[in-house]
């Protein structure tokens, strides 16, 4: 539903957000109006010199009762608002597991987007309508923010870390993408578009984009680095070096040398590549060399995509999709 003055409600949760906002607008508007009306009424009726009756003022006990009334009623309403908005927020910040995974790197002052099939975009994101899209984002320099008002979502994008956000576009069309966290000179020019297409159009776009005959998928690219940089030498069945296997590793708990147990998420994989001695798994030695400074963010993302695709339960030739 598209209302005047509001941006298009173009994601699955946009209508929920607007519902809260509009309810708040009505509620707050009503209370504000009531306060204004009462004040104006009192100002007129009790202006100095008017003949209004000023006797029979509420007693102290009555005053306290009035106070508690207008403490408790707002308080109860506030709790209700908190729960309602908190629920929608929880949904907005819980990425589904079956989403189309797209990677975003923000840098001063552009957005670099990588599709799993290897298609790359600058400042634009083509997505299919009515499918869950899960973005994994990082920054190359300062804090940015991936801001799509039409979807009612934004999230800060941090250097040195991955953050995730998700949405499901419900209407085809082109929508604003802004950078929503001040990041320097051309912060306001770090804008672009989200282009939502039907499935057919999206499939066609996937084929048609990229100047090469067929873009190399992220997984294939990652596989290439995995082998050319020597990762496979230790991690794929070396007889000389005792290195953990990466099959089925993603999102699994990993017991560390220090006794802690961590989950092998994107940040863990990234840290393991850049600072391998930081989180040494139990039973292994800290002998892996660090790749800090040797890899670009794009290369790291490709490697992570490849590692994520190494799932035991899939037959080998379906491992191109993460």
């Amino acid at each position: 539903m598209n209302l005047p003055l509001l941006p298009y409600e173009s994601s699955s949760y946009a209508a929920s957000v607007d519902a809260i906002f509009l309810s708040l607008l009505l509620l707050c508007g009503a209370i504000t109006l009531a306060v204004f009306v009462v004040i104006i009424f009192f100002c007129i009726r009790y202006r100095r010199g008017s003949s209004a009756d000023r006797t029979h003022y509420p007693s102290h006990g009555e005053q306290v009762g009035i106070e508690f009334t207008w403490i408790i009623i707002p308080f109860v309403i506030f709790i209700g608002l908190f729960i309602w908005a908190g629920n929608v927020y929880y949904e907005m910040f819980s990425p589904p597991t079956d989403g189309l995974a797209i990677y975003v790197i923000g840098k001063q002052w552009m957005w670099k987007i990588e599709h799993p099939g290897g298609q790359r975009e600058i400042n634009q994101l083509h997505i299919p309508v009515n499918r869950n899209i899960v973005l994994t984002l990082t920054s190359q320099d300062v804090i940015h923010d991936f801001d799509v008002p039409a979807f009612r979502i934004k999230h800060d994008v941090l250097p040195g870390r991955y953050v995730r956000m998700w949405f499901k576009a419900t209407q085809t069309g082109t929508y604003h993408l802004f950078c929503g966290q001040y990041c320097g000179d051309f912060h306001s020019r770090m804008a672009g578009s989200i282009i939502v297409m039907s499935d057919l159009d999206y499939a066609a776009w996937l084929q048609g984009s990229g100047t090469q005959s067929a873009p190399e998928s992220l997984v294939a690219e990652g596989s290439r680095y995995f082998h050319s940089l020597g990762c496979s030498g230790c991690h794929e069945g070396s007889l000389v070096v005792h290195a953990p296997s990466l099959n089925g590793l993603y999102q699994q708990p990993v017991p560390l040398q220090s006794g802690q147990i961590v989950v092998a998420n994107d940040d863990y994989l990234r840290d393991s590549i850049l600072q391998p001695s930081k989180n040494v798994p139990a039973g292994y030695q800290p002998i892996m060399p660090s790749f800090q400074g040797l890899l670009s963010e794009e290369q790291i993302i490709a490697l992570i995509a490849y590692i994520k695709s190494q799932r035991n339960d899939l037959p080998p030739n379906s491992r191109d999709q993460p």
């Binding site: 220090s258 600072q275 001695s277 930081k278 040494v280 800290p286």
Partner: protein, 216 residues
């Protein structure tokens, strides 16, 4: 005893000396509360990073000379004692004892700064000063570097406060020596004593955080 500092001011606000003393001390305690929060921000940073990088911090802590830290703690706590005595003598008007104890306190404080200065130099030689050719071998060098960033920043801030304290001891001591009527207004000595005690206590927290990290 007549009311003191500022009694010549036209709008002298206090009823009597006791009232003025209470107010001065109350004001000083509030100032110390602000100092707690000032240091508190960095203690917060230490807690966060120690939690996130426990092992790296331990590895960094192994490079600390615990016995120097221990010596410094003993020196500083002793100076706290001598300062408390000095304040007492000030209030009794005993100028000579005051000056002696101020002198001892000052020397102890200077010794503290000297020992710590030696430690700083030693770390510089070992390339453990962040931002100047920092080199560290360990499981997570950048997190260990964070340990040293916090070490230098927090002990550095503490040293700055010590330095101010030493300057004030010189100022009050010198002025007392030159002008005996300086002791007729003893509140300021008590305020200085509180300040010195605070600087002492901050060190008591810094010592375990930076010198007792590595298990032996």
């Amino acid at each position: 005893m007549p009311a003191e500092a500022g009694a010549e001011l036209p709008n002298f606000p206090f009823k009597d000396a006791g009232h003025q003393r209470e107010s001065a001390l109350f004001g000083m305690w509030i100032f110390l509360a602000t100092e707690v929060l000032f240091f508190g921000g960095m203690f917060m940073a230490y807690i966060v990073y120690r939690y996130l990088h426990g092992q790296a911090f331990q590895e960094a802590g192994a490079h600390q000379e615990w016995y120097l830290g221990f010596l410094n703690t003993a020196v500083l706590l002793t100076s706290g004692f001598t300062m408390a005595l000095a304040v007492d003598f000030a209030r009794q008007g005993q100028r000579n004892w005051l000056l002696v104890l101020f002198g001892v306190t000052w020397l102890l404080g200077a010794a503290f700064l000297g020992i710590e200065g030696y430690e700083y130099y030693d770390k510089f030689v070992q390339h453990l000063v962040p931002g100047t050719g920092f080199r560290f071998t360990g499981s997570d060098p950048s997190a260990s570097e964070m340990f040293f960033v916090l070490y230098f920043t927090m002990t550095g801030l503490h040293m700055f406060h010590m330095f101010v304290g030493l300057m004030l001891i010189l100022l009050f001591g010198g002025w007392s020596w030159v002008s005996p009527s300086f002791l007729l207004k003893p509140n300021r000595f008590e305020v200085l004593g509180l300040y010195w005690a605070f600087v002492d206590i901050v060190w008591v927290f810094l010592y375990p955080l930076f010198y007792l990290v590595h298990p032996r």
